[in-house]
């Protein structure tokens, strides 16, 4: 049997296959979840996984989950991230997922979701915020983190991405160092994520998942803000897709 987890995020789509064939890949979601879904289907086929076959079980998750018309099950990203996070950090853990358009905090106890929280619909404290600011500074995300590491934090007080961008433009206008602005940007996102996390009683190992999950720099800043160690995860961006693949397997038992 092939068990496939597909996580259609707002920025990136992640796929994990388990069972007969082990495989994982990521691609940009682009403007159409439908088209991305089609590309995923083709890509799996190239790797001998036929999503329409009787021997394949597919779980779709993420904001574009309903676009996956060949999915056997549709499960929310909270449940899938929790399952994937559990695989990475054990049955008692806290998962902080900084996604492209939302940030979630999930508490897992005895292997089950015990509580969760998502940010409001605005993009403060999400990957989108970093993406916009990196664009504004003319660098990639990795360059933004590298620059931030050598800079001194310039305060960005606005929680709204649009207003925060104006603050950044002011700093640029004042001729401030890019490194300092970058440090301010990362600090602001970490502060917002920490604030959200602290609304819940984080217990057990705390791991970071999502697109920033392997950034040592971001987890360090986040750990400082939360006052507890937040562990980076090598495959953290696949947490949702991995959870979906595991659930595909568990659901077909």
């Amino acid at each position: 049997m092939d068990y496939v987890g597909i996580d259609i995020g707002s920025t990136a789509s992640k796929v994990v296959a388990r069972g007969k064939k082990e495989l994982e890949f990521v691609l940009p979601t682009g403007w159409s979840s439908k088209e991305t879904t089609h590309t995923i289907k083709e890509k799996l086929k190239e790797n001998d996984i036929d999503v329409l076959s009787e021997d394949t079980r597919v779980v779709a998750t993420g904001y574009g989950r309903v676009a996956v018309d060949f999915a056997d099950y549709v499960i929310t990203e909270i449940t899938c991230h929790a399952r994937g996070g559990r695989e990475m950090a054990g049955d008692h853990c806290s998962i902080i997922d900084v996604g492209g358009q939302d940030t979630k905090v999930i508490l897992v106890e005895n292997g089950m979701v015990q509580d969760f929280l998502m940010n409001d619909k605005c993009s403060a404290g999400t990957g989108k915020f970093l993406e916009i600011m990196a664009n504004r500074l003319g660098v990639t995300l990795q360059e933004l983190f590298d620059m931030a590491d050598t800079g001194t934090v310039l305060p960005i007080s606005s929680l709204c991405t649009v207003f925060a961008e104006s603050e950044v433009i002011n700093y640029i206008g004042e001729g401030r160092k890019r490194e300092d602005i970058a440090a301010g940007v990362v600090d602001s996102v970490a502060a917002k994520v920490a604030q959200l996390s602290q609304k819940k009683s984080l217990a057990g190992r705390i791991i970071l998942t999502g697109g920033l999950s392997n950034s040592q720099y971001f987890t360090r800043i986040l750990s400082e803000k939360i006052g507890r160690e937040v562990e980076p995860t090598e495959r953290g961006r696949y947490a949702g897709a991995l959870g979906a693949a595991l659930l595909a397997e568990e659901k077909s038992r």
Binding site: Y63, T79, V113, M118
Partner: protein, 424 residues
């Protein structure tokens, strides 16, 4: 559907804009309501009331006015309808529950005002709701700062009487509320020219208690394992209770309850066994705000109770019917109304007791604490509510939303995840 354009025109309504509202409501109602399976036949009455929401009842109110009767528009479950009906007048709820009216309210109110207030002010000033045109006098109250200031703006366009609701529940506050009811009685008597006698007041107390009993009977039925009616339908009934003729509403609701009681006997349920039972608590859901109920009930859950103004706060506790002197009756009214537990009071621990009790009575698997955006009172109280529920081991999901559909997908994710969590 009858043609009510002439009536709307005579009410000075903005027909062109109003047409846009009339064009979208049937679609929304169809999507949320008519798509439900196995609805009770008794819902036909409420379907009809909504289908002609700006026709049938407004026409009745105008008929009443033609005979010299007055209509009072109210915005809060603390305002005693009994006083209005005892003077031969009609009270009708005016709270706006549609995004359609919000931009109208934003012309004069700060954006960070709750959508209920914005919609209510917009509906009046933009002349797009017949009820807001018909009411001869509005009755406001001091339940929150947003409303207090909104009355001053509305007061320039329509006569308004404001009742000063206390913010604590000491003996002297209950006495103060009795005095406010007494003053309201005088205002209603002067405005209608009708004296409110003990006999008339006894009659209206019985009338409104009858409505409360019917709603209580309906809610009692929702406690059954086999759910005879959906949360969406029950919410609609609660919303209609605010403006329908109380006598007819009571009769129709009791008739529906008979059908539902038979369903319970027959073991009929509108949802599959094992569907997670959700209790909603928080800010009111004014008609036609069906958003959250619809999301819950299309995501594998069933709403079994609303600890809300459009819910238990509206009908729980009866007014003592045994009093024969006006003064005693007014005290009995004050006692009953001060039993409602709204976040505008401090402290308000009894609301938390209510939620815990209702969760048990309705066998709720989980609770969703709903807050209308910018309702500072309920938002702040949510901290204590959610903490108390956690301590009691009841799963809770906090949600803040408004009347727009822009967050529907995010809400669906949260609600679905919450129900997945309950299913584990």
């Amino acid at each position: 559907m009858a043609d009510y354009r002439k009536m709307w025109e005579e009410l000075g309504m903005d027909l062109e804009t109003h047409d846009q509202l009339c064009a979208v409501l049937p679609q929304a109602f169809g999507d949320v309501y008519l798509s439900q399976e196995n609805r009770p036949e008794g819902m036909d009455y409420y379907n009809m009331v909504v289908a002609d929401i700006h026709g049938i009842r407004p026409a009745e109110l105008i008929e009443h006015q033609k005979k010299g009767g007055k209509v009072f528009g109210t915005f809060c479950v603390y305002v005693p309808d009994e006083i209005v009906f005892a003077a031969g007048a009609i009270a009708t709820g005016l709270c706006g529950g549609s995004q359609f009216w919000v931009p109208g309210g934003e012309k004069v109110l700060p954006t960070n005002t709750c959508p209920l207030i914005k919609a209510s002010v917009g509906a009046r000033l933009d002349r797009t709701c017949p009820f807001f045109r018909i009411a001869d006098m509005y009755v406001g109250e001091t339940t929150c700062d947003g409303k207090k200031k909104a009355w001053e703006i509305l007061g320039e366009d329509v006569p308004i009487h404001i009742m000063d609701l206390p913010q604590m529940k000491r003996a002297k506050d209950i006495k103060a509320w009795a005095e406010e009811i007494e003053a309201f009685k005088k205002v209603v008597e002067d405005f209608t020219g009708n004296e409110i006698t003990a006999e008339k007041l006894a009659g209206s107390i019985k009338l409104i208690n009858g409505k409360r009993r019917a709603l209580e009977r309906l809610y009692e039925l929702r406690k059954n394992e086999n759910l005879p009616i959906s949360g969406c339908d029950a919410l609609l009934i609660s919303q209609i209770a605010f403006y329908d003729d109380p006598g007819r509403f009571t009769q129709m609701t009791n008739a529906l309850c008979e059908e539902l009681e038979q369903r319970v006997k027959d073991g009929v349920s509108v949802v599959p066994a094992g569907t997670k039972r959700i209790l909603l608590t928080g800010t009111p859901l004014a008609i036609p705000n069906w958003k959250l109920h619809n999301i819950v009930e299309t995501s594998g859950g069933a709403v079994v109770c609303e600890e809300m103004c459009t819910g238990t706060r509206y009908f729980e506790h009866l007014v003592d019917e045994s009093k024969t002197e006006v003064t005693d009756q007014i005290n009995a009214l004050a006692d009953r109304y001060m039993n409602i537990n709204c976040a505008c009071f401090t402290p308000n621990a009894r609301r938390i007791d209510d939620i815990l009790r209702l969760a048990k009575e309705y066998k709720a698997d989980g609770i969703i604490d709903v807050n209308l955006k910018f309702c500072n009172l309920y938002d702040t109280e949510g901290y204590l509510v959610e903490r108390a529920l956690k301590e009691a081991g009841i799963p809770v999901l906090g949600i803040e939303t408004d009347y727009t559909d822009s967050d529907a997908q995010q809400l669906r994710t949260r609600v679905s995840a919450f129900i997945e969590m309950l299913n584990n």
